[in-house]
């Protein structure tokens, strides 16, 4: 099930300038866990839950199978109903007769049988077809993060709250899982090569630096690694992993045997130092991750939630970037020609300025980490929340 980050501190963020992906080491994380259709909530408000606690469940009606009875019996639809052996609501076994037609004193006999075990639902004397519905499909929703139930939405689901660190990725594959964080590269700019993972990494969430090559992902799947978090992935590797080119970034349902989260983008891209350091700080902790990504109509970014009980320091208390960016705000450039560069805002001219393309846009000045002064469109930076 896809779920959106619903942290308490996110109010009014849409009014900030391009908000950066979250890298928070201490916050209250709230996750809404809802069924796709109405069902039963199994926990109570105030109850403590773990990663795998089933918080709600329901039954999805089974798949319907259509049987063209009249065609099979060679009768007109209106004649067929006289030969039906089952009525609405009857249980039927696979291959059991639904209708039998016999003529010439039983010398000619035809029967229409059920393709599945299920319930006889409907016969139509207009079309001569009937519906047999398969067994109900159970749907269970797990807590996903350990914590306390703070809200019960009757018949639909719950909200779970925990204290923890939260990081957002930019793109991911695969759904929800959890495992122990293991830092696999020494630095944020190192490639996560296959030799850096071993059998001991089974069930872990590995953290790599600049990118993860396909052969590493394959080896990780073989070993039973639960997830990989890294800076980038090469387009060709992603294509091979998914079996096709990415068209529209709506992911999370892939069954590739692992959850993959990239934090920066496509190509070889060093993981942001802040994200790398934070993950390093929590090495050995159990983390819940979800690769589900949706770029349009309700943005969903991949997430890494690390529940912990560390007290929050004054510095890490939540600050909202309500006023947008100011001189001195830390930003990351998210487009060419300075893609990935980090710096501080040095000027915020009000007037539109002409850039190389001749477009007149709102720009800002940035002093990069190496001291270089550059000018970029405001649309091409994201704020690094501090």
């Amino acid at each position: 099930m896809k779920s959106r980050n619903n942290s308490k501190e996110s109010s009014n963020e849409a009014f900030a300038y391009t908000p950066g992906l979250k890298v928070k080491n201490n916050m209250i994380v709230v996750k809404e866990r809802k069924l796709p259709i109405k069902g039963d909530v199994l926990v109570k408000k105030g109850e403590n839950v773990s990663y795998d606690t089933i918080v709600a469940k329901t039954q999805l009606s089974g798949d319907p199978y259509i049987v063209s009875i009249s065609d099979i019996l060679g009768l007109e639809p209106r004649e067929t109903k006289d030969f039906m052996k089952k009525k609405k609501g009857d249980f039927v076994n696979k291959d059991e007769a639904l209708a039998v037609y016999s003529a010439f004193f039983g010398l000619m006999k035809k029967s229409a049988t059920s393709p599945i075990t299920g319930t006889f639902e409907e016969f139509s004397d207009i079309t001569g077809q009937c519906v047999v519905r398969g067994e109900q499909i159970p749907i269970e929703i797990r807590a996903y993060i350990p914590g306390k139930i703070i809200k019960v939405i009757p018949g639909e689901g719950v909200e779970v709250e925990c204290n923890g660190a939260l990081l957002q990725g930019i793109f991911g594959l695969g759904g929800e899982t959890h495992g122990k964080i293991k830092i696999s590269t020494k630095k944020e700019n190192e490639v996560l090569t296959p030799d850096l993972i071993t059998k001991e990494d089974k069930d872990c969430i590995l953290v790599g630096g600049s990118y993860v090559p396909l052969e590493t992902v394959k080896k990780a799947i073989e070993i039973g690694v639960k997830g990989i978090i890294t800076g980038g992935i090469l387009s060709q590797d992603l294509k091979e992993l998914m079996g096709e080119e990415v068209g529209v970034a709506i992911t999370g349902q892939e069954e590739i045997g692992i959850t993959l989260i990239i934090t920066e983008g496509f190509g070889s891209m060093n993981m942001s130092q802040k994200a790398f350091n934070l993950l390093k700080h929590f090495e050995g902790h159990i983390t819940s991750i979800n690769g589900a990504t949706q770029i349009r109509a309700g943005v969903i970014r991949p997430e890494i939630i690390i529940p912990h009980e560390e007290p929050s320091s004054e510095d890490s208390k939540l600050k909202e970037l309500m006023g947008g960016m100011m001189i001195g705000t830390s930003v990351r450039i998210i487009s060419d020609p300075y893609f990935g560069a980090i710096g501080k805002v040095s000027s915020l001219p009000v007037e539109l300025e002409k850039i190389e393309t001749e477009s007149e846009v709102r720009i800002l000045g940035v002093v990069l980490e190496d001291g270089k002064q550059v000018t970029v469109p405001r649309a091409n930076v994201e704020i690094i929340e501090e």
Partner: protein, 610 residues
Amino acid sequence: MALIKSKEDMEYILATDVGSTTTKARFFTKKSGEWRFLVAGEAPTTVEAPFEDVTLGVRNAVREVEELIGHHILSEDGSGIVIPYNGKIGVDIYCTTSSAGGGLQMMVAGVLKSMTADSANRAALGAGGIVMDIISVDDERRNYQKIQRIRALRPDMILLAGGTDGGTTTHVMEISELIKASEPKPRLGVTYQLPLIYAGNKDLHHQIQKLFEKDFALTIVDNIRPVLEIENSEPARRAIHDLFMEHVMSHAPGYNKLMKWTDVPIMPTPAGEGMAMQLIANSFKKNVLGVGLGGATTNVYSVIDDRFVRSVSANLGMSYSICNVMKEAGIKNIMRWLPFKLEEKYVTERLMNKMIRPTTIPQTLENLIVEHAVAREALRLGLLHHKSIATRLKGVRVQRTIGDLFEQELEETYIKMMNIDIIAGTGGLLSHAPRRIQSMFVLIDAFQPEGVTWMFQDSVFMMPHLGVLSTVHRDAAWNIFDKDCLIRLGTVIAPFGTGKIGELVMTVELEMPNGEKTKEEMHFGDIKQIKLPERQEAKAIITPNRGFDGGSGDGHKVEKTVIGGIVGVVLDARGRPLYQPQDDDERKKLLLKWFKAIELYPEDKLSEMG
């Protein structure tokens, strides 16, 4: 809808478009008896959590308008927009379009995919819907596959057609029973009934009512194909709009409130855009091909001999869907528009990074040219899709069984570029192109107009606003449209045919407004720009060489009026279909020559890259 004030007494109009990411407010006023666009305000759309109330975004966009002009529009108690203008505060009309939350997502169904299902598809698209899938008896999927698909879809609405009046009933019921058995669930909310419109064989109204009334919000309208030769999409289209308001909009966060702010029915954004395209066709009495090239979708509209058709390519766009353009067109087709050497891998990853950070804009000229290359392919594919929908119908009864009951003789599309008089474009990339000639050139390369074609463009994105406004105040809408929205880019003259580089294609004589005459000989592979200011016209006598057709047949002389514009008149002798050499170096050289001939990009930078 009754307007509160008489049109003569009105002074201010406000229109908004609640887009999936941005809410755009446009403010219009009457100056010396003439309606004009005054100012624009924009703010992020607030349909998603944590806000979940679209009126917040509308309020913010309107507040920006208020600040810019110092005129109060919003009521002080926060109850909405003051209507009518009371001498101090308010506007006389407020109307809005919406595509927030993914627009109107529809599933359509019919008996035969090339007949009733196709008609249902056209009706849904014409009403501004995004068609997620078309289910028909003969769509080559097994029943269980159709069922699985329907169960996975979660549409906002279903349009069900099938059978002519007095025609097949069994197959209509077959597809109806299949839909019922699938138990489709609505996308928004788990508690409300999914709207279903039945526009099929009228003989089945009773049975359809019985089948669906318990589990669906059923609406029955006149048959979309009462007889084979007629497509009657208007009742279905009206029902879609009504249900869009009653069911879909009312379940989207904050829309109940927004609906109270305006007396004009909220319209899906593409429907507003489509009305604007029809406004162009009606006002100029010409055939129009229009396009809205957005971040997520490409909408193509045609009005040919008064027949309006819209297509939406839901996953062809310049930001969210940019990778899908690459996937569908193929990277090589994008690379063919680049006049310099870049590695495919590099372009691929750049586009993928744009997809995941869709709000970024090109900072370098190289990036801009790459985006323009993608735009050409998105438009080309969008037009191909449109042509597959804009087809003429003929049904011929030949046999009795369903497989062979009707032989649907589909003529090829009736969209012939030679018959298109006007091409009009809207959308971020086209409206924000640094040089207007860039958007004109992108449109020309993608659509490849033939003969003489006038080229228009939306100035700042306001076609949807004016489309919905035209439903209540056509004169105001048209005046603003004509004066402030519709930018005349100019005219392109491009004969159909192909030849060898350097071969004579046509001679064009232009009689300019001041009486001055110019004569140009155009050779194959050449392109030329002639200045002719906006709102001026010139007479053009085009004499194509043998093997080329300017609109009157092979080698025949054509006399037409050409309009001026920001670009002027473009004489295009690059061939139709457009000639592009197979050899990579030759192709780049020729592309660079074209770009320089019409000053498409800053020449110094272009030379550095070439």
